[in-house]
Subunit: 286 residues, 2 copies
Amino acid sequence: MTNASFKPTLPFIKAHATGNDFVVVDSVTQSIELSERDTIFLCHRQTGIGADGLLRIAKASDFGVSDAHFFMDYRNADGTIAETCGNGLRVFARVLVELGYEERGTFTIGTRAGTIRVAVSPDDVNFENISVQMGKPQSHDITEIQVQTEGGLWAGKGVFMPNPHCVVNTVDISSVGTLLQAPKVSPSTAFPQGVNVEFIEPIGDTHIAMRTFERGVGETLSCGSGACAAASVWAHDNDLKTPWTIQVDVLGGTLFIDSALDGILTLRGPASVVATGFAKGNEWQI
Amino acid sequence: MTNASFKPTLPFIKAHATGNDFVVVDSVTQSIELSERDTIFLCHRQTGIGADGLLRIAKASDFGVSDAHFFMDYRNADGTIAETCGNGLRVFARVLVELGYEERGTFTIGTRAGTIRVAVSPDDVNFENISVQMGKPQSHDITEIQVQTEGGLWAGKGVFMPNPHCVVNTVDISSVGTLLQAPKVSPSTAFPQGVNVEFIEPIGDTHIAMRTFERGVGETLSCGSGACAAASVWAHDNDLKTPWTIQVDVLGGTLFIDSALDGILTLRGPASVVATGFAKGNEWQI
């Protein structure tokens, strides 16, 4: 069996970071432009390769970015443009190192939300501990937030990372129910653009379990900014002093959130490459 | 970018037939044994490649089958062994032809449900009209079957292909509701092993639209045996005389069901190859 049989010609990598999965396309050695329709095709679970989103590796200079070598051109599975993604950045950092585009150590990646610092340690042979600087959490002004799920009515805390999150403390995260339907967050004025909801459960002093419901998607295996929001609420509620590290067990694996003295959060965790190959074209041209 | 970067070494093909998708692994040129855990890994949507099932191409002689060259070793995404699958057979037939294992024309494929006749016409350059012999539908003895959905209560007709189906006539298939939850079929004694439910809507004299809810899975883009069951109910209700052909529009594309004079049904439709590549191993060994 050879790849030549079917003549699919778009090189791709399928990878995931704690269950958040991506199709990665390298547009550095040969320029590849992907339309909205291409993205939808590649990310479709049944009729394409299937992924939460598409990460195109572009030269930073093509996006007018001078403080990074490469730019993460990130698209959602529905073809729309997205700013950035903590889990996606771990995958992106690993791929840059494996392709020989960046050396192990600390480097920067351009995104639509600004240039982000990442680190892939020389010791981290299996890419289990890639870190991404995520910024500082900001608490919501509205403090009386309620979240209705199948399992009952809960108190929520609003945190911006800067995308909107609502963190719910529980004794047992299974008690919130199936999450087949979106949790209902009130007052509706609290998050006019919608909100991601994180349910957390204590495991230890600096160790929590988390389930996440992403707006417009549903329950997902992992959410990097959600883990940061959850850790910041846990640290606040438990009077942790910076610097601290909190382990967050998500359905798709284990994440660590580090807070620096100044409160800036770093997301750490693994990135896995599942497959490499060639995809059939839809509209794209090399 | 080369495939060598990450050293994934299991060759695979990702393909679909009207939205029913499969990872295909060739175990002919080099013997590949896949464990239940390998199958679960490869079929996982986020942390693997993602598919409804896995099709391993094996030598028919390895399964004691003498009336076919190759055997479709079919596994469900949960790692369990499955007997056969009409949409899977179209994908399998295409791949056998593209790999040069079978010549275009009519040939046979061994399955756990017996040896099945398929046809890939020399004229069908784009593999849009692959046919699979599906057998004869058998009506259920129980004629008073009711199906409860979000949209209301419906009358159902039981058909075995030989797997169990319950076909519901509607004026508009959207009126049954979301199908996020399994339709409730009663009496519960009618299908002790569970049942797939097909909702059909008239488009023309020999043309219907169909939605399908597969037991244990949910609403899917296509179901080959379900399309056969639906067409047989439509033909019966509309007094069609054999031979007949009925077009069935499913969410994932278009299928044609042909009935021969003797009532044996053939499923016809496309099969698409989406990607070829190399997957990271889990437990498997070459």
